[in-house]
Symmetry: C2
Subunit: 217 residues, 2 copies
């Protein structure tokens, strides 16, 4: 049983990484489409989401199978539960990438509010957070995961900057409400992707150290 069980855990880890790869690439593509802005390739992102959903269901089934077959305890149980949760966060990140892709279409066809350095910095940071959270999971690195939690504060500040910039642009008559709202929605989706990355980081800290950091930030 031990060898089989070990193989199952390794297989779960590989599945999470496959899913993580797909999700990272969806976020990158959607973000680029919005920043360009271009209506091209956005359908691809929407279609790719089906693959992510299928992987989520498969990993969930796999987790249930491992729980039922091996009844893992202590650290092994925590690992399976963490995989279960991380899968859920990755799936939601993929959904948010789809939302961004949909906005990218609107942005390309109907225009957007001003996109300054704040928007671009936010895009870069959030993508680094997703990648960082997955890397921390692979190496079970609690310190790297802590850094993700800290990075989230800057993202919240940037969201506020974007909000003020869009409000000023509408008030000044430079853009209409809907155009400004597209940029703000984009920034809001990025912020939620950052939140899911911190959820993953919290699970890594719990896994690596046994500490519950959820609800402390």
């Amino acid at each position: 049983m031990t060898r089989h069980f070990f193989n199952e855990l390794e297989s779960l880890k590989r599945d999470i990484l496959s899913m993580g790869g797909l999700v990272e690439s969806a976020v990158a593509q959607a973000t680029n489409a919005f920043l360009t802005p271009s209506a091209e390739h956005t359908d691809q992102i929407v279609d790719g989401d089906a693959e992510v959903n299928a992987l989520e269901l498969r990993i969930e089934e796999e987790c249930l199978k491992v729980l039922a077959l091996y009844g893992p305890t202590a650290k092994d149980l925590r690992f399976v539960v963490a995989v279960f949760k991380i899968t859920n966060d990755l799936e939601r990140i993929a959904d948010l990438a789809v939302n961004i892709a949909e906005r990218a279409k609107g942005a390309a066809l109907e225009g957007v509010g001003p996109m300054g350095q704040d928007v671009r910095e936010m895009s870069d940071r959030v993508q680094r957070m997703v990648r960082g959270a997955l890397d921390a999971f692979v190496s079970l690195d609690a310190e790297a995961a802590q850094n993700i939690l800290k990075a989230d504060d800057r993202v919240d500040d940037l969201l506020r900057d974007v909000y003020e910039a869009q409000a000023a642009a509408v008030t000044g008559g430079e853009v209409d409400f809907k155009a400004a709202l597209r940029v703000l929605s984009f920034a809001k989706y990025l912020e939620r992707i950052a939140d899911h990355s911190t959820n993953i980081a919290e699970d890594v800290i719990y896994l690596a150290s046994g500490d519950v950091v959820k609800h402390q930030y």
Copy 2:
């Protein structure tokens, strides 16, 4: 063991219902505060969130304990997993109630865009969805859960109506960007609460029938 295990499951069910009661009341209070709008009592909602977070952690620990001690399989395993997921959705609904409460303060102090029948109907419907999802869980009623999934479509339509109404109000110079955005954010939070209610309904359908309906809607 059987009797103890049965007691554990009953205790988990009671915990979910306590948590559900707190969450329902947070949503009702936050929504009323926004619709009134009034800055009163909103701190209470923010403070109450700590209790919900504590309950979430306790229920998660309890689920892990049950998995480790009894290694449940089949239907029992699915029940524990469903409790785990539902707890997570309830916690997020409570967070969204806090977000609404924060907006209610801004709304009271700095004004809001027009709040017509669409906003009020959305508030009512979403609150009914939260309650309905919890009721469906208690009675393991897959049909009632299916109705929640259907109700979500109307909420999406209402969100679009709210968006158009706010855009028109800004364009017509009746309100400023920030005031309109407060109503739109409120509606968006309600829509996300509705989404979490459908997640719970999907878990109930899975529990009651073994069918996976996730990603079909």
